[in-house]
Every structure is written in C-alpha cells, then in structure tokens.
C-alpha cells in the first residue's frame, strides 16, 4: 500500500479529480448566491431594511422565485459540503482509481443536474429526486469505505 503522501499529490489522478470537481462545485454554489441576488433585484424582494433602494419598498420574505433558489442552495449545503470531507478522506483510503474517479464524476454531474432542474428550469419529478439520490448514494458509499478504514 502506498503512503498517504503519494495519495495527496498532483501525481495521483484520483486526488486531481477530487480537486477538479470540488472546485467546480464550490463555484456552482457561489452561482446560487448570485442567482438569489438576481431574483431579489428582479422581484424587488429584500430581506433587510438597509437593502431597500426606495422608501416605497418593504422587506419581503415570500417570493417564490427567490425561495426556490434558496431551497436549492440549502440542499447544496446539506449534500455538497459533506462530500468535500468524505471525498478527501476516501481519496486517502487508496481506492480503485476507476471507481473513485467515476464516483466523483457522479457527484459532480448529478449535483449540477440537481441545480438545473430545481432552480434554473423547473423539470417535473422524478428529475430532481434522481439527481439528489445519485449524489447522496455515491457520497454515502464513500463514507462507508472511510468508516471501514477508520476507527472509533
């Protein structure tokens, strides 16, 4: 078995794949902030008095477009952020490169799909449920592998 140093390395294609998808998913999440802001300006829905650009506006919390993006964003927090630690620790268990790389791709692509069908163009179910469960399943599998290599 290689030392962990050889695993946390730009020479390890598994680690480089983890880097690529992690950074893409962070940028995707930042896109949710910008999309929320965009909808706030389009619908003039601001949550703080100091954000109101005119004395005629009042704070509002219930615009369906803003809230939809916020729900999608919260779902990212619940699923993508745990992937970051699990993917890193899974890389350190020295997994099969083929399996690991395709799991990272599955998480990355399915979370991008989740955003598209939830917050960009609303697609009927089960589109969102499917994309949700692919990423959840892949991350849960990695977590199980980390547990098998871990201790308590």
């Amino acid at each position: 078995m290689p030392l962990q140093i050889e695993l946390i390395s730009l020479n390890n294609e598994v680690f480089r794949c983890f880097m690529g998808w992690s950074a893409v998913l962070v940028l995707k999440m930042f896109g949710m902030s910008l999309l929320t802001g965009l909808w706030r300006f389009i619908t003039l829905t601001f949550a703080n008095p100091e954000d109101l650009m005119s004395p005629k506006l009042k704070v509002k919390f219930d615009d369906p477009n803003v809230e939809r993006v916020r729900r999608a964003h919260r779902n990212d927090l619940e699923n993508i952020l745990p992937f970051f630690i699990v993917g890193l620790l899974y890389t350190l268990t020295n997994p099969s490169a083929f399996i690991a790389i395709n799991l990272f791709r599955a998480v990355g692509i399915s979370r991008i799909a989740h955003t598209l069908v939830y917050a960009v163009v609303v697609v009927p179910q089960p589109a969102r449920a499917l994309s949700f469960f692919v990423a959840l399943g892949a991350t849960a599998y990695m977590a199980l592998q980390v547990i098998l290599a871990g201790a308590f």
Copy 2:
C-alpha cells in the same frame, strides 16, 4: 516532532479516529434528509409545486414535524461541518492521542445525542442544550489549538 505526513496516515490512530467519526457524522446528516422526506410524505407537506402528487394538494411550509427536523439539520450544518476542517487541522498539530481521540468521540456522540433528543424523540431541556455545548466546546478547544499552531 513527526512530519505531517506521518499524521495524515492510516497508521496514525488519531487520524483514523477522525476518519471514522467524520464519516459517521456525514451519514447521520444524510439521515436528516431522509427523515425530512419521511415527514413530508407522512404529513403531505411539500415545498415545491412539482412535488405535489395530487392536484388537491398545495405547497405547505409550516408543518411542525418537518420544520423540527429541518431545524435540527440546520444545526448540524452550523456545527458538524466546521468540525470537519477543525478536526483535520487539529490532527495536523500532532496532539496527544488520548486527548484528540476523546475529543472526536465527544463531538461524535454528543451530535448523535443532539439529533436524537431534538428530532427523533423530543426530550425536555437541558438535554439538547447539553449535547449542543459538549460538541461546541470540544470543537472550539480544537480550533484554539489550531490557532496556536497557525499564523495570520
């Protein structure tokens, strides 16, 4: 002092303990998503029009069972996710194995207890407050050790 490479290693019992509890807590958090979904179906409380299974249903945001699990889940985001980076960096400061392992156990067990008394079987206070502060205190202690080893 050992090199950090010897710390990020399956041969380091502190690191393996961090791996085990981190992965367990990620699975626990995913359990919150499933529990939220379960309550949504039991109480027919759906937040998106495309989730409604019958034209008689309307979107709903105020079911107390759904909202209770969502509050517990958000509390996880606020406390467990910061633990992931702090625990990893704390491991790299080469802490006493005895202290580090028991801090990880304290965080893991108290966060599981927090979920049980908040979102599974509601237990009167101070059960939830106690489990909350044990994990917070342990993570804050680790953060202070990381700051002492860090720079600005």
Copy 3:
C-alpha cells in the same frame, strides 16, 4: 516543484496561515450561534415548545433581531464553509506565498467585517455587499487555480 508533503506542513507559512484563519472563522461562526441564543433570550423568541421557560410563552419565528443573525449565519455557511476546502486544495497547488497569504487574509478579514456590519452594528449598504464580494472573489480565484491543477 515541492512534494505536497512539504505543503501540508507547519513549516509552510501558507499552510499555517490557512490554519490560523480557518480556525478563527470557525470560532466566528460559533459566535453566531451564541449571538442567536442571546437574542432569543432577550426577545423571548423560541422555536421549540420544549425551550419555553414559562407556560405563558408561545413559539415564535419572526423576531427581526433573531432572524437577522440567522441570515448572517446562513451567509457564513454558504461562503465560509466552501472556503475551507478551496483554501486547503489551493494550498496544495503550491501557490505564491505572497498571493496565498493575502488571499486568506482578505477572506478572513472581509468575513469578519461582513458579520460586524450585518449582525452586530447594522451599517448601510454597500458595506455588506462589499465585504461579501471581497471574500467571494478571493475564494472564487482560489477555486479557479484548483481547477487548473485538477482533472475531471
């Protein structure tokens, strides 16, 4: 190019700077939990029946002071937590120490400023927007560097 082992090391000033700011930002985030609790007690705004200290109280969800701190805290989850993985992976790309250290400082200082102007003393816009975008821009730049070193 150095091995990644030399990068994840207390001898690497970039890594130590990442450690210091990460741990400070975690403690800052925990401060949001305490500030939320403080406002809950001041305004007697409790979200759970088991938290009510008197039978005369009822659960409440709409206190503006509590909700303001909660919005600031959620903004931390959306921006600081992604910084943790991006900052770590960026450190592993062996960046210029000058650039990396100042990016970490920019994120740390601007996120502390964001909290101060949002949740402690409300300062008119664009104070909050500026602090938000400095941290977002710095983290997004790091994410792009990680993508360039990564794979898919």
